[in-house]
Amino acid sequence: MNRLVEPLLALAATALLVLAAWAVPWLKFVLTIALAKGLAVLGILLLLRAGQVSFGHSMFMALGAYTVAFLAPQVPEALLLLPLAVLFSAVAGLLIGLFVVRYRDIFFSMLNLALCMVFYSVLEKFYAITKGTDGIRVTPITIAGQEPGRETQEWLIFGLALVLAVGSGLLVRAYLASPMGRALAGIKTRETRLEFIGVPARRVLLFAYVLSAVMGGCGGALLAMTTRHVTPLLSYWTASGELVFILILGGAGSALGPFLGAAAYELVRVYAAALVADAWQMILGGVLLAVILFAPQGLWGIVAGRLRGRA
């Protein structure tokens, strides 16, 4: 496929998103959330390139979200809160990463799950600090100095999410094409060979892990600014499962996949979750199964297949 197709598609998708948000005002909220989650999913994509899947990445989303909730009263400005969320999730990603990158496959997955559940119970149990399951309401904040007036602020957050999504997409593309990114695929195929040619596999994976944590934290911060309320459920295993689901649905073959998946997921959820709240996980599981069995490249794979057929 032409090297320009992906950026062009991304541009078209961006225009489409802006148009949709402009034409149907309530969509702005849904799409902002989709972009925020897509950002976190993009992080997991990096790890999947190394053949590792994290069942616990919602912990970084929750970390980013709680950072915003905690610091909003002291630092009521989105453009300052975001870097702070990035900073905290980078530090957390580095510390946790130093531990988990020593493990592979199911150990990697389950250790992430375990740490994510530990974070969940910390958020839930320490009521005095985190208000437990009640969660914390995010106090009003300014964005780029703009006072919180509903319409403009919604647009600003949407724009912020869009800029971050496009920026991270480009970053991930460049990163995956670089030697560091190529080495990730080497971890998946045969790590020992990678080390024989002198590439420190763990450090390669650690870098990807920290990057993915930062993207998760960023997504979480955006989520908190949009929904204005954070609860420990952000770090529950189902939230992590949701992120993995979005990645497989969208397809891990391109940086566009996570956002495609997230948009499809959030749009369906708006309608379906209310209708079939009891069977929501079941439907997700069923779709996940169907995608893996019948369309392992995800939605992006279908799109890419079409394009290739036409070209």
Binding site: G51, F107, A114, T192, Q281, L288, P296
Partner: protein, 311 residues
Amino acid sequence: MAGWFSENGLLLGLALLDGLSYAALVFMVAVGLNLVFGVLRIVNVAHGSLFAIGAYTAASLGLFLSARGLPPAAGYAVLLLAAVLVGGVLGPVIERGVLRRVYGQEDVLQLLVTFALFMILEDVQKLIWGVQPLFHDAPMKFLGTVDVPFGEDVIPFTAYQIFVVPGVAVATLAGLAWFLRRTLTGRVIVAVTTDKEAATAMGIDAAKVTLLTFTFGAALAALGGALASPTTSLVPGVGAQTIVLSFAVVAIAGLGQIEGAALSALMIGMGRSIAVYFEPELEVVVPYLIMVAVLLVRPQGLFGVVETRRV
């Protein structure tokens, strides 16, 4: 120390007894998980759901039958029946219907397929049994309590949890060791675990062994659930908790270690119940902390063998 002991001795005794029965239950699930991994090379994330469904089936069946005049002593047969039923139906359905389609595919996809199954089964369980707690403790009440001497104190504790639950676990451990080492079927399973290709070349029907092992493992998990059902009221979320705990047990022991799993189940069971009695806040975190601590020191588990690295 002596002062602390006279004050908290009773509590510690209770914690140890509780921990023993809990460890026995976790062992039942972990040993099945281990066995299935050995043959299929898939860590079945849905294994915890089989525990939950086994528990619910046993409770429903028990309530249904005792309402129709089943003598309480026959309640134990009902527990076994529930396990056979769940394992015998769900085992083949999952293995033949789903897992068989992804053998030989990427590890990540296999893992995600079982994760999808887990999501589906969690909701199936909620749809069938609702979210109201279910409770049927007749099999536990029937045996009454025994007085356990503990230092100078005497602790009255249910005979069911002291004799039946650990008894079944010990019988499983001994039976399994005998089965795998002394019977033809058992040795065939070991052969497939060790080297599937060589075993197939010797004329072993690996597909049959796989089906058999998976069904057997599923039945063990369901039996664990059935045994647990009289001791606690059943609520959604049991499945998620169980799979993480039993994975922790397997990881601590080292994948493929059956006797080791018994010891690490004791560590997890005791650790958790001591936390329940002394620091309830830490209950959720303790099993993870034990796992993380062990894996930090011995990444291959306490009894695991370091795998030779392939080049």
